[in-house]
Symmetry: C2
Subunit: 184 residues, 2 copies
DNA sequence: GGAATCATGTAAGTAGTTACATGATTGA
DNA sequence: TCAATCATGTAACTACTTACATGATTCC
């Protein structure tokens, strides 16, 4: 079967929920997948168009006076099959993260200790905020039972985010202590 | 001061080591930064060219019969200043990882349990390999004392990679157990 | 009255990958 | 003799972001 890009698969998956428009797809991503998958309108709208051309989805245009036309997308059986096929495919590569903090630390010899410590503080601060966002999302998902069939899976992805963030925060602490000890 | 892209800063940093050519920059990245920063020749060569145009580096061309000309790059004081300035800048955003395994799990309702378990197994397998690679890099860095001034920093970035990989592996185990229990 | 939400999309630009092209030397 | 290493680079392509443009409704 033909291969599509990641954005297409992400949208195929989202169209299995009750999200039907580009706008609501964006909202779902921002609210629930944002910790491991971001996407912009500049990708969503052209991708939706292409998906219809490819026969993965159909579109119904609802015209209302004044407002822009509302485009409601639905999966075709071809779309469903493509999603299933992708889900069954084991991943080829683990994601390679690009980490700016580590890049700066890598060249740490050219910085002052104070600056390195500041970088670590900032990073930990951001990680803490991220962690709190995860907890907020978790709360929201749990209280909003509309999609109860998906909830378990969604929470598992959040658990991943929390664990990784925790490990990163612990690294920040250990590394900070290391530099503090060196200062003495 | 003018802002440059991440690739430029990465290369500025590497030019503080004894790497002087596009080829050896690529090698250093593959051997030591690969766990959080990848880069291809298609980026390195055009970036080096631009860096010379911008006055961040100078180039000396060494012609030898037969072989392609060897281009040796050196930082200018402007280049050093740009690197220092970037190092002092605290990061604005933590890296947003795109994780295909999580994306598939997010739509796990449309998969069989067996398939989800298989995905987790594959992911854990890859993480294990990654972890082992980190240990191999660590060994290599420790035994190769040429760059001893940088070694501490390089090892810290590896520690990060190991911790995060460990957390991810633990998540794999917990999640697997969760699905195994459900099966009963 | 003004911000937020709903709703669409495009154009220009940046970033990055992959495949291709070339060819000498060194070591097993 | 064959693979690996050294060494350069470009062209085509894919992916993604940001800024822009439009405008009604709803809530504070």
């Amino acid at each position: 079967m033909k291969k599509y890009n990641h954005t297409t698969y992400a949208i195929l998956g989202i169209l299995t929920t009750e999200c039907r428009t580009g706008y609501s797809i964006k909202r779902l991503i921002d609210q629930s997948l944002n910790h491991f998958w971001k996407i912009s309108y500049g990708q969503i709208y052209p991708t939706l168009k292409r998906m219809v051309e490819e026969g993965l989805a159909t579109v119904k245009t609802l015209t209302e006076g004044g407002k822009p036309d509302r485009h409601e997308y639905s999966l075709t059986s071809k779309g469903e099959a493509a999603l299933k096929e992708w889900l069954e495919q084991p991943i080829e590569q683990i994601p390679h993260e690009r980490n700016e903090v580590l890049l700066k630390l890598f060249f740490g010899r050219h910085q002052t200790k104070e600056n390195t410590l500041l970088q670590l503080e900032t990073y930990k601060q951001k990680l803490t905020e991220t962690y709190e966002t995860y907890q907020a999302i978790e709360k929201m998902i749990k209280s909003n039972h509309q999609h109860h069939e998906d909830v378990t899976y969604w929470l598992l992805t959040l658990d991943y985010g929390k664990r990784v963030a925790t490990a990163a925060m612990e690294w920040c602490d250990t590394t900070r202590d290391y530099f503090k000890k060196e200062e003495e």
